[in-house]
Amino acid sequence: MKTIIVVGNGMVGYKFCEKFVAREESDRFKLVVFGEEPRAAYDRVHLSEFFENQDAQALELAPIDWYADNGIELIVNERVTDIHRKTKSITTASDAEYQYDYLVLATGSVPFVPPIQGVEKEGVFVYRTIEDLEGMLAYAEKVKEVKPNGKAAILGGGLLGLEAGKAVMDMGLEPHVVEYAPKLMPRQLDARSSNVLQLTLENMGIHIHSGKATNRILGNGSITGMDFGEDDTLEVDMLVVSAGIRPRDELGKTCDLEMGVRGGIVVNDQMQTSDPHIYAIGEVALYNQMIYGLVAPGYEMAEVAVNQILQNGTVRMQKEIDMSTKLKLIGVDVASFGIPYMPAEKGLSIIYENKTKGIYKRINVSHDGKTLLGGIMVGDAEDYSILHQMYLNNMPLPDNAEELIVGARGEGGSPFGSAMDLPDTAIICSCEAVTKGAVCCSVLEDGHETVKAVARATKATTGCGGCKPMVADLVKESLKTLGKTVKERICEHFDYSRQELFDIVKLRGIQDYDELIDTVGNGHGCEVCKPAVAAIFASIYNETANKQNTIQDTNDRYLANIQRNGTYSVVPRVAGGEITPKQLMAMGRIAQKYDLYTKITGGQRIDMFGAKLHELPLIWEELIKEGFETGQAYGKSLRTVKSCVGSTWCRYGMDESVSFAVEIEHRYKGIRSPHKLKGGVSGCIRECAEARCKDFGFIAVEGGWNVYVAGNGGANPRHAELLAEKVDKKTALTYVDRFIMYYIKTAQPLQRTAPWLEKLEGGITYLQNVVINDSLGIAAELDLEMQALVDSYTCEWKEAVETPEIRERYTHFVNSDETDDNIEFVSLREQKMPKEWA
């Protein structure tokens, strides 16, 4: 058996292993891998995510067991120090010696630190490994302790530098990016697009200093500032150097492999170095006199090396390597492909710039107007994938090439045609080198019908994920050619959309989950279909979550919102935000008794946090005695109807908003829906109740109420749209009854009213027709259904505390009276909070 030694367990080294073991012939070889870092290979491209969760495991490319499971010997924390070409062996830092038949160098690169006076000072970092990030985080904490408004600078305004800028901003430091060139991302962007990007970033609070050469790092021991010469300095508490990379080629140098003048181990198109038994791949390899600082070319090199070692000589590195990139920098799209910019004699450029929106697009077209040479997009790169494909595949341009970036005028739709027009050889997923042909074939011949299944089979979309929209399109279009429509199916257990299931349950009078899955589904269900079906039962029969409790989402199952540490919160209903002093005192007393953290919520009521599972029925028993009922803060159901004080007290009030809010909150309470529902009532157009960011809202105006629907705060805020103007209360309620009921019957699981209306063909006009003009002839039915729901309300907490079998569910252990000793609280401003997550 022959031995292959891989030096370096980074992204490309790992990819080599993955591709190697996937091949049948590989069992003739033994793979031994050395990695200098203390852990197995991880996803460096998404390194910045480590700041969000500090979860190194989440970045792992494969769990450590994967190597052994695949017969690979992985030795981490061990640097290879020497190569002895004569004896075909290597030595490691701990003086062990190993023999090889083939050696693969995948040692990557290190950040380049320019020789500036003072760079060795404390507080100066580079940005490459998890250890670097841990160091930065610890240092930033120290800085913030003494200086809450501390500043951090990034040396280098390239791609990585800007990412580092975002990272230090997230750490709570004021970010300053210092770039030597006169513009940001000098390699990828032209001056104008760079400008647009700079403006956008500055608006986000990132300070940009371009055209600055750093002479010296200031400070006594640790960094206090940067000196740019001529009395120009910047005070900073921390510095991240991101000034480019240098290949880690020292092994090549000491064993006399052919090297590039400025470093890098020279390889041919088979990834062989000047010693045919030694290969080099990834960022250490100098191919075409270039070091490619991106993963995709590295992965391709790994593929070539695997094939060469397995004696498949035909697979070679391409002559030209595509350096196109698209990324989301701090939430801003930035993309460049082909030749991003060039002098006029080489081609013509079409440029669209909109500084107010932070958008810049440029495409470069050949003089005859026939081919796309490259381009840049900042602020909006939605069309990147298709433009990139047009460029790669030399596809003909439309007559009006400008439509590619400014959108088609008039009728006729998209200027691009569809992704299906691409040749089969077009690489759709560049991380995993999956072609359009492979994606379509996976659908047409292998019978995969979802993006998830295609991803599993082809690996497309599993790298950076940028190709997802295109893969989704291809899957959809391929299914169409098979005569199949893409169905909105709930999950693998039901071949129906939510709306279809709703009708099935109703028409066949199905009573519980088991009956439903046994008659029209398959398998045993999952965490997606169970709660969706639970909501359908609730909307049709108005049954409480207590009845089929194990198909409810956890919050509904225990009638309380689970918190960070597994305790729960308790939220009684305070309709319209109106509460008596007596009720306030009762709540205060109960919260104190059970040592609960209390807070006024954003929904005008009071939340009591930190109740243990077994305390919930005890607390609710007392609340119910005081006249409270459940607030359903846990349910996909009505939350609150916010109100302003209205004409009862307010000098501008046009009508009694509190009374109306209390009335509707009681009307709709307990009704389950595809997602939560929120309402608002304002006494005049000053809109103090924020009714227009609610699912339904009423605003009192001269002559009646204006009715608004489908507003949303939350992640994608959207103002509600006007459904009817100046109507009386009764009419207003009828319209909203029908609107809610229609939404309940037709929306997808977990779809709020705002996205539902956005998807509804015909939009608000169509909805007005259904709700006001009864265009579908279903108004009477909707009215009846809603009235039935209103009439059958029960407080599910009352039901729970009064029913011994339900009460029994509230115990942490079923075989012991002990409580969960894993729960720990710490104190917080005279109250308490859960202990931090580790």
Binding site: G523, G525, V814, N822
Partner: protein
């Protein structure tokens, strides 16, 4: 600390069982749902997957944020592999192998379960 907690739990295969711990009457475990039992210093989630007619047990500790919550998770199946979804962030784990199905947190520990005379027993090696 986190390491310590995780190390408390190690998968026990059927042939490693030395003690069948008599946990609780079967009726304490809801149909197609779970409940938590205590054995020495361990918290074990036990599931009554009655649609399958199978019982499963695993650590109650979710490896994502180290909270004792898995017994309160929803169970179900993905291509017929029984799984539990953590109630906190819906990470799902196979109840057969313990493997993390929608990500790459490590596997959770699983334990054999048997039911005799309407009593649930969980198998431990110590």
């Amino acid at each position: 600390m986190t390491e310590l907690k995780l190390n408390t739990y190690e998968t026990v295969a059927l042939n490693q069982v030395k003690i069948w711990f008599k946990a609780a009457p079967a009726s304490k475990f809801p149909k197609d749902g779970g409940a938590c039992i205590k054995y020495k210093d361990k918290q074990i989630a036990v599931f009554n997957f009655s649609r399958e007619g199978t019982w499963y047990a695993c650590q109650n500790l979710c490896p994502h944020k180290m909270e004792m919550v898995l017994s309160r998770g929803m169970i179900g199946e993905e291509r017929l592999e029984a799984k539990v979804a953590c109630p906190l962030h819906k990470n799902t784990f196979s109840l057969k192998t313990g493997n993390h199905l929608n990500g790459d947190l490590g596997a959770i520990a699983t334990y054999p379960v048997k039911v005799e005379n309407d009593f649930v027993y969980v198998g431990f090696s110590e």
